[in-house]
Subunit: 258 residues, 2 copies
């Protein structure tokens, strides 16, 4: 099977123009088929503040009300996505910026209201891998923002890590798919206070131990659950670290396999 | 040759939710290959006002400074485009929202500074009809916002009428392409004060007479110049009128041919 690299970048890269330019340069050098998923980080909250919209939080979770969804659509779907696309074009990477509504690529359903009403937040229901394959097979590099749709005309704010793993699962049917999560750490850390204590390899067995020892907790827990979900559903490997994991020079990152 | 319908809608439709929904319903019913180009109208100026950005004007022309370009990218490329895409998906039209940077579809160059510095405004240099054909041939309906790029990473604000005619010219190589300009009038009017005085057919010869008689002037002049430019470069026909020109019921519109 042909290889496909799916790269996800988070807010720390999006928010820093130099970091973003450096990343896009590395991304443009990746050989073979590739796909980018980006979050939006603080840019949407900053825009909300400018517009006098106050972020609604419940139990520490941000609520996506109608006004916030508008801002997210503007910032992630417009400002961030189109500027990434224009920059990648200048680096000879022929990309197409997409939300999950475009090409009906990612269908989601509004998260049901239980203890918390998250508002216009979508949980991924279906990835249209045929549509994404048409684009990739014609040498378009898809650049996804973290917005999906419900098929009834409603856009929905969706977690970018989940979008990444769900696309990767969908694409694994016809590609040997690897995920590269680029984030603010060098990898999964043995000691959260030591940025060089990168765990170089995690598999299903060692993951259980890391959980039992309490080494994987807090924000890292859903990220790794997401990774193992992807691996169990056909994804070849997951890599986590800073953006230099896209180069051959970096040997300090976490590789996750079953 | 297969037929292709290219429809352009302006601010009067974008700004009115009911009008937009009605239009999208009509658009979704168009048989055969189709493509949509939308402006953004006052939505961008409204957002600029909310953000405390004052519109810069010189000689009655709006200047696109860096801040305004950001707003245009958010509003046209994000908010308007992605909501149109989601609504069309709900009407079973499998569309992909695009700027000219996506798929390198429309390359432009920043308008040179002469008497006026228009700022980040682009004049179309090249339409990548091969990229658009790949999408159309795979049953994706392209939905373009009026933003292009210069190939060096810079997005540029571009006139939506010009984008429409330039795409139509590009697509005429392999399709029998017709343009439908949907706007606030029922067509080109003989008497600007009588909305029913629609001139039903204009050709190159009658156009000269209309110009000499001063019937075509002001805002209609660049629109019609644009139409004849398209026709001279291979476009099959141009239709102008309200959105019901997309139905068989309306017989009150202007058809323009060479």
């Amino acid at each position: 099977m042909e290889k496909l690299s799916i790269i996800k970048i988070g807010g720390n890269i999006i928010e820093d123009e130099n970091a973003l330019n450096n990343f896009l340069h590395l991304f443009s050098k990746i050989k073979g088929k590739k796909l980018l998923v980006h979050g939006g980080g603080k840019k949407a909250s900053q825009m909300s503040t400018k517009l006098g919209i106050t972020s609604k939080m419940t139990n520490g979770r941000r609520i996506t009300d109608a006004e916030t969804l508008e801002v997210i659509t503007m910032v992630y779907g417009g400002l961030v996505n189109k500027n990434i696309v224009a920059k990648l074009q200048s680096l000879n990477t022929n990309c197409i910026g997409l939300s999950g509504a475009d090409g009906n690529c990612i269908l989601s359903s509004k998260r049901p209201v239980k203890e918390v009403d998250y508002g216009f937040v979508g949980d991924v229901k279906n990835v249209n891998n045929q549509a994404i394959e048409v684009l990739i097979n014609h040498d378009f590099t898809p650049v996804f923002c973290a917005i999906t749709h419900d098929g009834n005309g409603q856009l929905l704010n969706t977690n970018a890590d989940t979008i990444t793993s769900q696309i990767a699962i969908g694409m694994s049917k016809n590609y040997e798919t690897s995920i590269y999560y680029c984030f603010e750490l060098n990898g999964v850390l043995e000691d959260i206070n030591d940025k060089n204590s990168v765990i170089k390899h995690i598999n299903a067995a060692s993951y259980k131990n890391l959980l039992n020892e309490g080494i994987i907790a807090d924000g890292m827990l859903p990220k790794l659950e997401n990774c193992f979900d992807a691996l169990k559903n056909g994804v070849h490997a997951v890599f986590m670290g800073n953006t230099t994991i896209l180069t051959k020079e970096n040997e300090n990152f976490t590789k996750i396999t079953l």
